[in-house]
Amino acid sequence: MTTLPPSLPAAATDASVAVRMVDINKRFGSVQANADVSLSVRAGTVHGLVGENGAGKSTLMSVLYGFYGADSGHIEVFGQPARIRHAQDAIALGLGMVHQHFMLVETLSVIANVMLGAEPHVLLKRADALVRERLQALMASTGLRVDLDAIVGDLSVGDRQRLEILKTLYRGAKILILDEPTAVLTPQETEALFKVLARLREQGTTIILITHKLKEVMRLCDHVTVMRGGRVVHESAIAQASVQGLAEAMVGRQVNIGRPSDRHTQPGEVLLQAEGLTVRDAMQVTRLHGLSLNLRAGEIVGVAGVSGNGQSELLEVLSGLRAPQAGRLALAGESFEDGRWLDPRAARRLGLAHVPEDRHARAMVMSFAAWESAVLGYEGLPEYSGRGWMRHGRMRAATEAMMERFDVRPRAPRLGSAKFSGGNQQKLVLAREIGQAPRVLLVGQPTRGVDIGAIEFIHAQLRALRDAGCALLVVSSELDEILALADRVLVMNEGRITGELPIDECSEARIGLLMVETHEVAA
């Protein structure tokens, strides 16, 4: 690891520290989300909180804002010890949070959304006048502009975010926490947001920015804290940091990197080819920007990147769950275009199997028995049903075989799907998909919620499948996993593939940079 500048000295006068969190610990079940985390945010500064998924930054801020209570540790706000048990306590102390998923009522106006819960008067007309006055003043001083009478449903994403910020300022927030604010913004909207944040800082507001976008951090922040694996791994003033250093800190591993590929043969023919995939969501935000990739037989392609950058949409499009706005797909000799796209049944017929990211809502039917979930998507196959009737015996036998092969416990095909542990559920889903001997396998988060012993097993199964000539695409927010499994690594950020590397050329530095690389729009 490269050497990094030393941490901030612990001594800073109390009043000038807006937020001090000391030795925060928070555990969820078997996962230690925050381990001895200390954070010190100076008043009137913009402080970046950086890390990958699961690094613990969202948990830390949730503790600060009162959604969870910490297991141990204490918090001080503006030098005073603070007991924050609900969001109301946090708001009372001057904290305000803008979440990734907005909390707005779409049918009401902007001003109604701002004042809800804090209306200054019982009669709306009076309340409206009072709030309007205050908001005009706020908007003037901060440069935040929103049309107060617009209906939220008609607003763009950027405007909605401004509304959320306005909500917190209206309630007197002096410390603003923003959770991945630019994740859904266009470059222009991002610029506008930066101007607002700069103005707010000028007026003495403290801002905590949760993000993984290092270039933004370098531009906006005064100080930065990097978290990884639930701990703070780096803390410094921006002046002493660099994108490279931060990326390494964010991503740094102790496992071997640059391992040579362990596949035994050269990758074979191209089994799946996707070109120009473009996906826009319901809010017209582009999730995939003309993405292209191909998958070859006998190769594991890993998709690395912070979650939420289009990986889910990519899996949905390739598996046929969703049709893209534009794009082409060639699979097993058939081609599809955005007017006439693949559907899950056709995909299976063409030898494509899919292990979804969302086990509970997609991969299994929780209220079904295990054997019923074990045939999900394949119930129409001749081996499972004939002339409209399902062959229970065969299905149960097949399930038992799956459970045997993948060591699913308990070996009870009749047990309800929901009664199995996460790891065993995942193994069953994998058994089901791999059991169909697919030519192409898409896997989303293969070991999420899976215990350590099962992880190794699952990885071994995926490698075996690759060796048998299958083309695999593995999407994972755990970089560990990608580096352990992949022969070729694609890094995604903001709906684009920012880089492609054979596994032996992967290093933390390179991947880290690719994960945070943004697409600069020509001005």
């Binding site: 997609r362 929780m366 119930e379 009870a412």
Partner: protein, 384 residues
């Protein structure tokens, strides 16, 4: 609201209906006591009236027949993820379809051909009456609960219009059609038994009871042994997983409701072909709503539905007997009890289940080794 001790499967399927019934009976019993009757006496008379005599038993089974049809209808829709309040209207349409075929063809076709045609017509009419709201839900987003309620009223209006204007028997005072020819008549159970040499009092009970039981068996096979049933249940259980499996949710919605309506439409065979032998107003008499109570009590399983239908048939027949014997008692007591059952089994299920779950947890806590073995053994699949 905390559910720290989830109900084991067996308790959910077997125990809860009994518990809910018990609580409903308690509530009804309180009302009975409130109005000065003895709940115990009423209960005894009710059971006697329902099962004590061959005639009473026949009536019980006759009522139960219609309830089985509507109960199955509601249950099939529930499995598909929909609430079918429209069984009443679908039953009306079914009866209309059955009756129209009977009126049209009863003098031209022999019974073995006519009766199946009448059945098909009834099922078809019911199916259509359910499929339209289903289509509106799937493709236009109209809430199926509201549209089926509206369709119930439309069905009554339609039947009323046809009976008053087109189908009315000339010269008669009552609003009903000409009686069907003998070919359109489903043999009564007493006729069947007489043919076997058993003397049985005459009653409205007819062989459509067998049809109902067959339907129950058919629904069971369809839902849990056929591919179509699997897909229907998948959509009802998890729309996301169904989409993942390549199952079309919109199509399944229409199929589920269509089947549901067809089942409700079969009430026509019991009431029109079996009992009345002509078309008349209000032959469904609320069976569509009782079907909801039956499905809820029977946990949407054919076996439970048959048992619950028997229970409600007994309540209706027993209730009628009691109202003849006891001053101040009327059939409406049964309607009220029905309401309590729906309330406790359906709406208050989340209130009662946690309590029962906790009770079971405490009761089965002591013998640890035995318990885990028992749990593993009884942890059955999702169907019987």
């Amino acid at each position: 609201m905390s559910q720290s001790h989830p109900l084991p499967r067996w308790a959910d399927v077997l125990l809860m209906p009994v518990v809910n019934l018990a609580i409903a009976l308690l509530a009804a019993g309180l009302v009975v006591a409130l109005i000065g009757q003895s709940p115990r006496e009423v209960m005894v008379m009710l059971v006697q009236g329902a099962f004590g005599t061959p005639r009473g038993l026949s009536y019980t089974l006759y009522y139960a027949t219609s309830f089985i049809f509507t109960g199955l209808a509601v249950a099939v829709a529930f499995h598909g993820g929909l609430f079918n309040i429209g069984a009443e209207g679908q039953a009306i349409l079914g009866g209309l379809g059955t009756g129209l075929v009977a009126l049209w063809l009863s003098s031209r076709l022999p019974a073995p051909i006519l009766l199946p045609l009448m059945l098909l017509a009834g099922a078809f009419f019911g199916m259509v009456w359910a499929a339209v709201p289903a289509y509106l839900q799937a493709y236009r987003g109209s809430h199926v609960v509201i549209t089926t309620i509206m369709f119930n009223f439309l069905a009554s209006a339609l039947l009323g219009y046809l009976l008053v204007n087109t189908l009315r028997a000339p010269g008669g005072m009552s609003v009903e059609s000409v009686p069907f020819g003998p070919a359109a008549h489903l043999p009564g159970m007493h006729e069947l038994l007489a043919g076997l040499g058993i003397a049985w009092p005459s009653s409205p009970l007819n062989i459509s009871l067998f049809l109902a039981l067959l339907a129950a068996g058919g629904v069971y096979l369809l839902l849990w042994h056929s591919r179509a049933g699997y897909r229907l249940r998948a959509v009802g259980a998890s729309a996301g997983a169904a989409a993942y499996a390549g199952i079309h949710p919109k199509r399944q919605v229409i199929l589920a409701m269509g089947l549901s309506g067809a089942l409700a439409g079969m009430v026509g065979m019991n009431e029109i072909a079996g009992v009345n032998g002509k078309l008349l107003l209000d032959f469904v008499g609320g069976a569509g709503f009782t079907g909801i109570a039956v499905a809820v009590m029977g946990r949407n399983h054919p076996v439970g539905i048959v048992l619950a239908s028997l229970l409600f048939g007994a309540l209706f027949q027993g209730g009628a007997e009691v109202s003849m014997e006891v001053q101040g008692f009327s059939r409406d007591m049964v309607v009220m009890l029905q309401g309590f059952i729906v309330l406790f089994s359906g709406a208050m299920a989340y209130v009662i289940s946690p309590w029962v779950g906790t009770l079971i947890h405490w009761a089965t806590r002591k013998p640890r080794a035995a318990t885990s073995a028992a749990v593993a053994k009884t942890a059955g699949g999702t169907h019987g």
